[in-house]
């Protein structure tokens, strides 16, 4: 099993619950707006602590409420593409892309800067500051940053939301290659049925 997630967490007066196991490949999470998709990714990433439950990724227990296990985010080594790009405003695009790359053990890196820059088409942006990027440009940089971090699994929250159809198909191809060739497990949030169709090895509905 690549992801085994069984969590529960109260946010304000809402209760977010999720329970699924994903064999391997890419798991698409869907659900209406506000269902809790982002919250689930945050819990898997270690940014939000579940009230109770268990999170196991690639056989490693990241969180276990009963046993008191709770790995901090930087030890989980999950590449996370946030719903908002969340780039580092004080680093140029290149610095953003290499932030996780430099922290990853050499053996864990499975992509180079050049590869990422090429398939995301962000070569002209490398020396720019994040604040000057367009919506789609920032989103691509955020995607590249996560891919370069040598992660053992990917969490992607609507990574293609503001990317034009031409680029989108190129990126989808790359994601499929990562899924198939590197067999990296992924959790992927999207509202686009076509995208889900193309990418998913499994579909999970949150708050369904």
């Amino acid at each position: 099993m690549s992801f085994e997630v069984e969590v529960r967490r109260t946010l304000g007066d809402r209760m977010i619950e999720a329970c699924f196991a994903a064999p391997s490949g890419l798991t698409v999470l869907r659900g209406v707006s506000g269902a809790g998709k982002t919250s689930v990714l945050n819990m898997v990433a270690g940014l939000l602590t579940p009230d109770q439950g268990r999170i196991i990724v690639n056989g490693q227990t990241l969180f276990d409420g009963a046993a008191g296990t709770n790995l901090p985010p930087h030890r989980r080594r999950l590449g996370y593409v946030f719903q908002d790009a969340r780039l580092f405003p004080h680093m140029r695009v290149r610095g953003n892309l290499l932030y996780g790359y430099r922290l990853a053990p050499v053996d864990d890196r499975w992509m180079t800067l050049d590869e990422v820059v090429a398939f995301l088409g962000i070569a002209p942006l490398l020396d720019r500051w994040p604040r000057s990027l367009s919506g789609g440009e920032a989103q691509r940089v955020a995607l590249g940053r996560a891919l370069l971090s040598g992660a053992r699994a990917l969490l992607m929250d609507e990574p293609l939301a503001s990317i034009d159809p031409a680029r989108r198909s190129g990126i989808i191809e790359a994601i499929l290659r990562i899924r198939n060739e590197l067999s990296l497990p992924m959790l992927y949030v999207t509202h686009d049925p076509a995208e889900a169709e193309q990418l998913a090895t499994q579909l999970v509905t949150i708050g369904g």
């Binding site: 901090p72 930087h74 989980r76 405003p89 004080h90 932030y99 500051w129 604040r131």
Partner: protein
């Protein structure tokens, strides 16, 4: 405006005292600001209040407290003497300590303001990319708090150039050792008819901090220009 050799000596000493004090206290101030902005611990309010003391009490009282603590007969002073054989009494180091203490609340408050304005979600992003708390602090929080650090530095530097009461009470008014610009101005004020000397020294003070100000503005201008290239 012509400065005599003695005046230059005073300027040199003032710079040494202020810069040494403010630079040495800077990392502590940042840690304190960070603790107050992010920490949750019992006694936080007390720590906060303690940091404000040099602002609230008349400087002369702070100088006296420093004297009681760090003087040769004081508990800390005695230890310093026994362990390191150093004494800060009547020394420029003592003046630097006074300057640092008086600057501390201003520095902490400015830095804290900047730390609180940092978007923690950006730090979260760094964490998921493999940055441990320390690295995240160094590479994300610290640079994003730069405006507060610059402001804190300027406020602290200006404050210690102007510092008088705590210094004269703690380390007296010794030419060449503890007589900084402010103390020299005080001395000149004590002599009837020496208005010209007062003006001259005051202008030097102002020039010094104007220099610091220009440097800091240039620094933050450059930084801002870089980051917010977006005109949208």
């Amino acid at each position: 405006m012509l400065l005599s050799d003695a005046d230059w000596e005073i300027v040199r000493l003032s710079l040494k005292v202020s810069l040494a004090g403010v630079i040495v206290i800077l990392p502590f101030a940042f840690m304190l600001a960070w603790l107050l902005a992010r920490g949750r611990f019992p006694g936080k309010l007390l720590l906060d209040a303690a940091i404000h003391l040099p602002l609230v009490l008349p400087p002369v009282v702070i100088g006296w407290l420093l004297l009681l603590a760090l003087g040769p007969a004081g508990p800390v002073g005695a230890l310093l003497d026994r362990w390191f054989g150093v004494s800060v009494m009547f020394r420029w180091t003592g003046a630097a300590i006074a300057a640092a203490i008086m600057a501390l609340p201003l520095m902490v408050r400015a830095m804290r303001l900047s730390i609180e304005a940092v978007d923690r979600r950006v730090e979260d992003a760094a964490r998921t990319l493999g940055a441990g708390p320390g690295w995240c602090f160094l590479t994300i929080l610290l640079p994003l708090s730069l405006p507060g650090i610059v402001t804190g530095f300027i406020l602290g530097f200006a404050r210690s150039i102007g510092e008088f009461g705590a210094t004269i009470t703690f380390v007296s008014n010794i030419p060449g050792e503890t007589q900084t610009l402010s103390l020299a101005i005080y001395s000149a004020l004590q002599v009837p008819g020496s208005d010209a000397a007062v003006w001259r020294l005051a202008l030097v003070s102002v020039a010094l901090s104007l220099g610091a100000l220009v440097a800091s503005e240039a620094l933050s201008q450059r930084q801002r220009a870089g980051r917010s290239g977006h005109v949208l």
